[in-house]
Amino acid sequence: MRVSLFITCYNDTLFPETGKAVVRVLERLGHTVDFPAGQTCCGQMHWNTGYQDEAMPLLQRFVDQFRDSEAVVSPSTSCIAMMKDHYPLMAERLKDEKLKAEVAELLPRVWEFSQFLTQKLGLEDVGAYYPHRVTYHASCHGLRSLHLGDGPQRLLRAVRGIDLVEIENLEQCCGFGGTFAIKNAEVSSAMLSEKIRGVLNTRAEAVTGCDNSCLMHIGGGLHRERTGVRPVHLAEILASEEGDGL
């Protein structure tokens, strides 16, 4: 399959490793990856913070970039949830029938990365090797908007060498919430503390998930406290192979 990668604005800038990992996994599985270079942002930050007018043009942009793609994959649950939950509504609001139709036609071909593997490709074992103790954090978007279920955990369990341990507060929000992390920093920190406590109780080396926004927040706290526990996106675990020396 020819897969178009939607890297997302923040992964592009801050976590290119995750994008590289997605490419590596997909190519290992025999697919080709292209990257529509005009892509920027899905508009979530603006839409969720109350700047809906500012988010609107980004819908058209996304459709323009990806309308001809066979499949669109993104390693970000929040961005994909933004599209699935809001793009149809946004097109409706713009009263643009053509755009509405294009959105309806495109969205079924748009996937969050782990969902693409488990649901579209029907896979669990993607040939990964990652001999570390890892715990998984379920992002709210992945859990409640995309209904990933235990898909990510199944992918992780199939990784050779992995020691996967479940976190006690799996479904509890980590406290990132986009601009919430800054506008309500106090409460965000308190929620982060709880999540970190959950991570530390697993004695894992690394905490993983399907969304770098959560991981950036959790990882930032883990680093501030010098816990030695590192965040690693699910894609990077799946990309890891024997001989990588990781």
Partner: protein, 515 residues
């Protein structure tokens, strides 16, 4: 927090209130304990219901249908309640509702003398309109008879949770309050025991005397049944039944959103509410009565029954199609128990009698968006509330909708200049509309953060401090610096060095939107 009414028009911003309250260790422990207990109970009784999702769907549909025909059902209720001997009053706003109730209480006295006391059942609606204060001003003391409300009242405090209003108090605090404030002729409360049972027994004694003596009661209403003109009160302690049955005059204050079409509809709501609110299959007592008992003597319940139907900005909410679902709320409090933000702060942080997720959407709208603008942002949009709402109110969607309203207010005219966030986000939006500008800003960001970066043991740069608004991040988190190469730069480079690998989109390098 004491004395000051929870008033959204004067309450501090959520961020400010939360910060102060989060320093209260007992509050946080109590809130965590209470929310965990109720959540666990709720989960148990919901799991045993194979038709829980179907009940939720019906609950949502019934409420939606009701709002679509709200005038029809209110008029039906009025007709049927009146035919049964009740008197229905209408109030446009809180002030009018207060005036009506005070007037009715005054008129309820024997021999034309105004009573100086009334007994009350817990009612969020009466707290919303600050009724007790208005009654005091008219020389009428309202005794709260719900145990938690009694604790709040005697302690000169404010409720912090819809269903368990005094959860922020522990038993020793409650004992102190009772010892200090409970006064009953012939009874000595100074030797009060300290267990919850002792405290409840003291409350029983204190209140029983009032139930048997005070002739006028004020209540809210859980549901108004249009088809029969009946009113339903859902409760646990029995104080509701006392107030609804023993006095001569009963005055019930209800928001216009409390009406349900038929008696049968209660079969859905009476399953959803107790399981969601207190994690019980059914709460101890539900009372449904219609008008008054017209027996000439020795009748059942009050001789005079009044319902005050109050708008108080509910019609504004009704008019907004996207947030109309706010009115579907049946006041179960499940959203509060599920909310990870509420769990950290408790209810007072929301500066309103309606706290937690429902408070975050209801309060600003009751204020017609003139106040409580920080509340729609008091959420990480995790969606746990939506998952547990028995009538499927999509609270995250309404929060986003209200944020949009707040931003529009703050962006209008010259306000925009005073608001750095608005300026910043509008600027960022422009950046996203051009790939070339986006790439430039990535490079600029990398440069800008250089002075803030410090390398760790592995040579990775981290930022421990960010200026201004962004400082909120670095309060407790580090931020890893931007890598030297963005993903798209890597992908393009890879395409150049490996023939056969494609980098750009169909329109070639840079894309048709690359400008």
């Amino acid at each position: 927090m004491s004395g000051q009414a929870l008033d959204p028009t004067t309450a501090p911003k959520f961020q400010v209130a939360a910060k102060a309250l989060m320093g209260d260790s007992q509050l946080r422990k109590n809130v965590r304990h209470a929310t965990n207990v109720i959540q666990a109970k709720r989960a148990r009784v919901v799991q045993e219901m194979p038709d829980w999702q179907e009940l939720r769907e019906s609950g949502k549909q019934i409420r939606q249908h009701t709002m679509r025909h709200l005038d029809f059902y209110l008029e039906m209720f009025e007709r049927n309640c009146t035919a049964a001997g009740g008197v229905v009053h209408w109030a446009r706003n809180a002030e009018e509702a207060r005036q009506i109730v005070v007037g009715l209480v005054k008129a309820s006295g024997a021999n034309g003398v105004s009573p100086t006391e009334v007994i009350k059942i817990k009612s969020m609606t009466t707290e919303e309109i600050q009724l007790n204060k208005a009654l005091e001003a008219a020389g009428i003391h309202a005794y709260e008879t719900d145990l938690a409300e009694l604790i709040i009242q005697l302690g000169h405090d404010q409720p912090s949770h819809i269903v368990v209003p005094a959860l922020h108090k522990n038993r020793s605090q409650i004992r102190e309050i009772f010892k200090r404030e409970m006064k009953l002729p012939g009874v000595d409360f100074s030797e009060l025991g300290g267990t919850p049972q002792d405290l409840a027994d003291a409350a029983r004694k204190f209140l029983r005397e009032k139930f048997l003596r005070v002739q006028t009661a004020v209540s809210g209403a859980n549901f108004l049944v249009a088809e029969t003109g009946g009113v339903c009160i859902v409760e646990s302690e029995g104080n509701g039944r006392m107030c609804l049955t023993l006095p001569e005059t009963l005055i019930s204050v209800a928001g216009i959103d409390k009406v349900v079409p038929t008696f049968q509809d209660l079969e859905v709501l009476l399953q959803l509410l107790p399981r969601s609110a207190t994690g019980e299959r059914m709460n101890p007592y539900n009372s449904i009565w219609t008008g008054v008992d017209k027996a000439p003597s020795g009748g059942d319940g009050p001789r005079a029954f009044h319902v005050v139907l109050m708008d108080n900005a509910r019609t504004e909410i009704l008019a907004d199609e996207e947030s109309r679902q706010t009115l579907h709320c049946i006041r179960c409090g499940a959203c509060q128990n599920a909310c990870p933000v509420y769990q950290q702060t408790g209810g007072h942080a929301y500066g309103s009698v309606y706290a937690g997720p429902i408070g975050a959407i209801l309060t600003p709208q009751l204020m017609e968006m003139h106040h409580a603008q920080s509340l729609p942002y008091a959420s990480s949009l995790c969606g746990a509330c939506y998952e547990v709402c028995p009538v499927k109110i999509n609270i995250p969607e309404v929060l986003i909708h209200l944020r949009n309203k707040v931003v529009k207010q703050q962006s209008s005219g010259f306000n925009i200049l005073a608001n750095p966030e608005v300026m910043a986000l509008k600027a960022v939006a422009k950046v996203f509309q051009s790939e070339a500008v986006f790439r430039v800003s990535q490079k600029m960001g990398r440069l800008a953060e250089l002075p803030l970066s410090r390398k760790d043991g592995q040579g990775v740069g981290w930022i421990g401090w960010l200026p201004g608004m962004l400082g909120g991040w670095t309060q407790v988190r580090d931020l890893r610096v931007m890598p030297k190469q963005t993903f798209r730069e890597w992908f393009e480079e890879r395409a150049k060095t490996a023939p056969g690998r494609r980098s750009g989109d169909k329109a070639g390098e840079g894309g048709k939107n690359g400008h």
